[in-house]
Amino acid sequence: MSKFTKKKSSELPAISTASLPDIVFMLLFFFMVVTVLRNDNLLVQNKLPKADQVEKLKKDRSVYIYAGKPSSRYTDKFGTEAKIQIGDKYTDISNIKFALTEAREKLLPELQDKVMVALKVDEKTNTGMVTDIKQELRDLNMLKIIYITTPGNEINE
């Protein structure tokens, strides 16, 4: 009757890995949906105003300037006054020229003359700050600017 005696279960049964790809793909799927590609780490609040008469921005030849109140996690350190951000750090209005020249040098050399400055300014910021930035840009002779907006219209709200 030894035919029917069970084998000694000294061996561990192999764990089935057949469902692993599914799990991995599910994760992949989740992250693909959730991720937003972003170049700069935002340090300021950035709720853009709405506009519908818009043009597209050519990304390869643009330099970004962000402005707005510091994000909630930085308010302890930097207060609630509106600030300007270029690249990954806050910039003072007097320091804009230096920061912009630095940012411009990161672009392709043949595009540096055609540089366009993209202003991503929070809708609650005062226009005075934008005017200051524009004055600095005129000094630098970077005359092409674009106010980045979100689709929509103020009137229909």
């Binding site: 000294s10 597209k56 991503k120 809708e123 005075g128």
Partner: protein, 208 residues
């Protein structure tokens, strides 16, 4: 202790799954591009002799610190701004026969308002404490006024809308160099009929 071979996982379908996903994302993803209102700043030069603009050719939009609009000395709602700007630009007040006469204008031809679209200048004056939201909303309405008039003219002349064709050109939907150049010329022609003349005054510092 006999060694039992562990059963192999059949990975044959992995490739199929991966490709399915890949294709799905290829089809559905749109790389979002930033859009906005483009502007050309005036170069920093001292203007020796500022051009004289007649009072009637100037459309003054004033925005105060609490985001209220004063258009031509009258309080106005934002929603009426577009129509007011169109009426001003399209007025064509110069008498017929004079060199300034605007043949394509369909406005009221009020001699008290702008002579022709080429002479008409819109001047925006902000306060330093005007919110950026309002500033963009005003700019948007004024650009919309120009776009409406340009659309009208391009439909009359060529049968298509100015804004649609310029968007097509932007997005690379127009194929062939010759076609692109021809379209560019036509677009410039229409821009000449209604040139964008927006002036921005230095903001007042009353808020500070």
């Amino acid at each position: 202790m006999a060694r039992r071979a562990t059963p192999e996982v059949n990975a044959g379908s992995m490739a199929d799954i991966a490709f399915l996903l890949l294709i799905f994302f290829l089809v559905t993803t749109t790389i979002e591009k930033d859009k906005g209102i483009a502007r050309q700043l005036p170069p920093k030069e001292d203007v020796v002799d500022p051009p004289k603009i007649k009072e009637k050719n100037l459309f003054i939009v004033n925005v105060n610190r609490s985001d209220q609009l004063l258009v031509e000395e009258k309080l106005m709602e934002l929603k009426d701004l577009r129509q007011a700007a169109i009426a001003f630009l399209d007025n064509g007040g110069a008498p017929s026969g004079s060199p300034e006469y605007c043949s394509y204008c369909r406005g009221k031809r009020n001699p008290e308002s702008s002579d022709n679209p080429d002479k008409a200048v819109i001047s925006v004056q902000n306060d330093r404490l005007t919110s950026y939201k309002m500033y963009i909303a005003v700019q948007n309405e004024l650009v919309a006024a120009y776009n409406t008039l340009r659309d009208r003219e391009s439909e009359r002349l060529y049968g298509w809308k100015f804004t649609e064709k310029s968007r097509d050109l932007d997005e690379g939907k127009i194929k062939g160099e010759a076609a692109k150049e021809a379209l560019q010329l036509k677009l410039e022609e229409i821009q000449k009929l209604f040139p964008l003349k927006l002036s921005e005054a230095e903001p007042k510092k009353s808020g500070q």
